[in-house]
């Protein structure tokens, strides 16, 4: 099946992502930031679907929008400070920070103008639908078995670390 209206969906989803990102870093209320971030993450899941990565899109929705963001919202509710919204939202080094970010943006633009010819306008591959999840699973449990086990160990360490950090007295 050939994709339909790819440019329309690309610009719609990327616009959602960029607006969501801008809202994340400008809102005063942390809950609003979290909701904007959820919108951006869902739009990114749509972009994964456009790139024929349905498994990653599902993981994105379930883990990011469903798991991590719920954790964020939960912590925001725990530490919610009315005071924090009335205070300064940006730190004293924001000029330096913006300058550093602008330098990074200049670097990106330089790389773009010099390097865009390195990516020939290749016709996107077709016939990728189907079996994506199976192939990802084969790679995860075959070639990347060791990395997979290390990732599970990392999650175990993170669970213990989170409990130790958040508990009042051990």
């Amino acid at each position: 099946m050939n994709p339909v209206a790819t440019p329309f969906f690309f610009y719609l989803l990327s616009g959602t992502m960029l607006i969501g990102g801008i809202l994340v870093i400008t809102r005063k209320n942390a809950v609003h930031s979290a909701l904007a971030l959820i919108a951006a993450l869902l739009a990114q899941a749509g972009i994964y679907l456009m790139l024929y990565a349905p498994f990653v899109a599902g993981v994105q929705i379930i883990l990011y929008a469903g798991g991590i963001m719920v954790l964020f919202l939960f912590v925001i509710m725990l530490v919610n400070l009315e005071r924090a919204q009335k205070e300064r939202q940006f730190n004293k080094q924001w000029v330096v920070g913006l300058a550093a970010a602008a330098a990074l943006g200049g670097l990106f633009i330089a790389v773009y103008t010099k390097g865009k010819a390195m990516f020939p306008d290749r016709a996107m591959p077709s016939g990728l639908e189907g079996q994506n999840t199976q192939k990802v699973g084969e790679l995860l449990y075959g070639q990347y078995m060791f990395a997979f086990e290390i990732a599970s160990l990392l999650l175990l360490v993170a669970i213990i670390g989170a409990v130790v950090m958040a508990k009042k007295r051990i």
């Binding site: 990327s14 024929y52 990011y64 991590i68 725990l78 940006f90 990516f119 990802v136 009042k168």
Partner: protein
């Protein structure tokens, strides 16, 4: 007009770079620790987008079995989950001590 109508890997890279920049600006300028952590999530997502876009590009060269970028994106999502859990745990411990969530008031280790 042709470039507008054809979405190539370059488009995804530009989007990814823009998201990365937004995340960097958030990390460097905001005071609220929760929003700094969310900006880190934005950065990780920009990287993931790049990985999946290049996986798609690579599949055009090597056939539909070349999914290494997507596998790596899954590992990055795992890392993001671990980082969020530990970061928010540290945030709760810090909030219990200092009753604030501003980055520039995190000075317990400063002599």
């Amino acid at each position: 007009m042709e470039t507008m109508l054809h979405i190539s890997t370059l488009h995804y890279m530009v989007l990814s770079a823009a998201l990365f920049l937004l995340g960097v600006i958030g990390v460097l300028t905001r005071r609220n620790v929760v929003i700094v952590l969310m900006s880190i999530e934005l950065i990780l997502n920009a990287v993931n987008l790049n990985l999946v876009a290049f996986s798609h590009y690579w599949q055009g060269i090597q056939g539909p079995g070349a999914l290494h970028g997507q596998v790596f994106a899954i590992f990055v999502i795992t890392d993001a989950a671990a980082e969020a859990a530990v970061g928010l745990g540290i945030l709760i411990a810090f909030f219990r001590n200092k009753e604030t969530i501003n980055v520039d008031e995190v000075n317990l280790l400063k002599w």
